[in-house]
């Protein structure tokens, strides 16, 4: 099977520091890739090159089989690479539908087409549809985001990405601020995305999470790829020792 995303020999330098040093990785359809590493290992930098935040100093990005140059986060999104950061980028004072359609609000003509007004009914109906598709239950969609739980907010951010045709989802510490039950719910959601054909790269410190949900694990250490393992063929101990460099580095 052809990978949806392949990055080859990615390099990013900040002054004298090489944050990402010739790293390659692939993401295939129908899989969850866990990207792990200690603080400063370069995983966020790598992700930010894929999502258009940083311009790489070297390397190539292939998406859907073609080489691409991603110059801004907007370009990444337009291609279908959607990144959900910890802050989720939701407007807390707006309701669920408004957030899903933020910046792309549907309108309808008013007063004989003199002006165009927001089509809130359409926004609500479409939001309901995408939430149902992802099996997300939020009792009242007209509530402002600030009245929702952390897990529900995460779900709204994911639903928004899916509604706008995300082909690859990158999630930065999606469970960090959640209670145990909500963590489980978000991980269920990650699996559901995978099963619906949207592969996920999940960045996490939490080994339990990574092992619960990832099919493949990419381990980074000090800017290099320290290893790559199928989740079913490895253990937490092995991954952690690769992260901290206790074992010999194996090139995947």
């Amino acid at each position: 099977m052809e990978p949806l995303l392949a990055v080859k020999d990615m390099v990013k330098r900040f002054g004298g520091l090489t944050a990402v040093n010739h790293v390659s990785m692939e993401v295939y359809p129908y899989e969850v890739v866990g990207l792990v590493g200690d603080n400063g290992a370069g995983k966020s930098t790598l992700i930010k090159m894929i999502s258009g935040v940083y311009k790489p100093d070297g390397g190539q990005i292939f998406f859907q089989g073609r080489e691409v140059h991603i110059n801004s986060p907007m370009e990444a999104r337009e291609m279908g690479i959607e990144t959900i950061y910890q802050d989720l980028a939701l407007a807390e004072n707006l309701d669920v539908g408004s957030n899903i359609f933020l910046g792309r609000e549907p309108t309808q003509p008013f007063m004989g087409g003199l002006v165009r007004v927001l089509d809130r009914r359409y926004m609500l109906a479409e939001s309901l549809k995408v939430l149902e598709r992802l099996d997300i239950r939020i009792p009242d969609l007209t509530k402002e985001i600030r009245n929702l739980s952390g897990g529900q907010r995460q779900a709204v951010a994911i639903a928004r990405a899916i509604y706008w045709d995300a082909k690859l989802m990158i999630m930065d510490e999606p469970t960090a601020a959640l209670g145990v039950a909500e963590q489980r719910k978000v991980l269920d959601l990650v699996r559901m995305l995978r099963d619906q054909g949207v592969p996920v790269i999940i960045i996490s410190h939490n080994m339990q999470d990574v092992f619960a949900v990832a099919d493949r694990i990419v381990i980074m250490r000090r800017g290099i790829k320290a290893g790559e393992r199928m989740a079913r063929d490895t253990t937490v101990d092995e991954v952690v020792s690769l992260m901290v460099g206790a074992e010999t580095v194996e090139t995947a």
Binding site: P73, M74, R77, D87, A89, L90, A91, E92, N93, L94, S98, N99, L102, G103, R104, E105, T107, F110, V115, R116, V117, L118, R146, N147, L148, S149, G151, G179, V180, A181, E182, K185
Partner: protein, 361 residues
């Protein structure tokens, strides 16, 4: 799933307290306004009449028009301190232009048109500069607009020589003060002029141009904020600038538009003032720097951004206007109004703080 319900119950507990606070913040201004009206109706003879209510509306017209502009900016998380002197500058510019053209003998309609257009063009400039400073150069709104306040004040005084600019064409006074409809006992209803021969004290005029402009401005502002993408993006910007940016909203452009809208509404306020008082004055809007913010905040908007409604600002502006008129009718020195408005502002901000505190938890 059972565990999820538990966490939801916990969040429901905070939410219901939050809801209660939000209810209080939404309703208290209305209650307060109702209470003021009730108290003055009982204690001040002649307060509870159509005539006095209409006067309150007319007296509130500039305040509300300017405060509506302020509402847009505050919802987006900004503030515009320059509105009062932008209003003064525009009133002076329009009056100076109209005086000159009037003395040169041009037809009154043309004089008025040129005066209004000149005022709006001059009013556009500080809005554009405020917007550029805040959106492009990332100046804090408080400081940028404070600077603009000084600049607008400077030009308003220079142009007027610190004097009231009078000698306006008649049309200015007529537009600012004539009623559209006149009702008198035992007389047919007349339009634009009182019925000839009627006792002027018994004639009731209904609806003036300033009042009409105020009502239309409020309706249009409400419509834009509640039902258009422009309004939606204004709330989004106040809720989270970052989320707005990442949603692809042109945040800089939108910010500029907001300060331009605010300055244009301040200009409209200045033009209404000139029509009402048949002159231009650099200090026409001096009180409005604070009163416009007060009306918005009393109306339930948050200075943290993201919250606020046109109806709230309307109530806020009317609380101040009712206080003023009521105190005058009771022969209480109207200076008490300053203190009373001050107390109400502090109350409004405390409610806002309590709400924000709970939301942050």
């Amino acid at each position: 799933m059972a565990a999820i319900t538990e966490t939801q119950d916990m969040s429901t507990a905070t939410t219901s307290r939050q809801m209660l606070l939000r209810m209080v913040s939404r309703v208290w201004a209305w209650l307060f306004l109702g209470m003021l009206v009730a108290v003055f109706s009982v204690s001040a003879p002649g307060f509870f009449t159509v005539r006095s209510f209409q006067n309150i509306g007319i007296n509130a017209s500039e305040t509300l028009i300017v405060a509506l502009g302020q509402t847009f900016v505050i919802i987006a998380g900004g503030i515009d301190l320059s509105v009062g002197f932008v209003m003064g500058l525009v009133s002076v510019v329009a009056a100076v232009v109209m005086r000159a053209l009037n003395l040169a003998g041009y037809p009154q309609g043309l004089v008025l048109l040129v005066g209004v257009v000149a005022g709006l063009i001059i009013g556009f400039i500080p809005g554009l500069i405020n917007g550029l400073l805040i959106a492009r150069l990332k100046a804090p709104p408080f400081i940028a607009t404070l600077g603009m306040l000084g600049i607008a004040k400077c030009f308003a005084f220079l142009l007027s020589g610190g004097q009231t600019v009078g000698r306006q064409p008649d049309i200015v006074r007529l537009l600012g003060n004539s009623y559209f409809i006149y009702v008198a006992p035992n007389e047919p209803v007349t339009f634009f002029n009182p019925p000839p021969g009627a006792d002027l004290r018994s004639v009731l005029g209904v609806m003036t141009l300033p009042l009409l402009i105020m009502i239309i401005t409020a309706i249009v502002s409400h419509f834009v904020l509640a039902h258009t993408r422009f309004g939606q993006h204004t709330y989004a910007l106040g809720g989270s600038r970052d989320a707005s940016l990442r949603a692809g909203i042109d945040v800089d452009l939108h910010t500029m538009k907001l300060y331009i809208v605010c300055a244009l509404l301040a200009s409209l306020g200045g033009l209404v003032w000139t029509m009402r008082f048949n002159s231009g004055s650099p200090i026409a809007g001096e009180a409005l720097m604070l009163n416009s913010v007060a009306a918005v905040v009393i109306g339930g908007a948050s200075l943290f951004g993201g919250e606020g409604k046109v109806m709230g600002t309307v109530v806020g502006a009317f609380i101040m206007a009712v206080l003023y008129t009521g105190l005058v009718m009771l022969n209480v020195p109207p200076f008490w109004q300053f203190g009373a408005v001050g107390v109400i502002i502090i109350m409004a901000v405390l409610v806002d703080q309590a709400q924000a505190g709970i939301a942050r938890r």
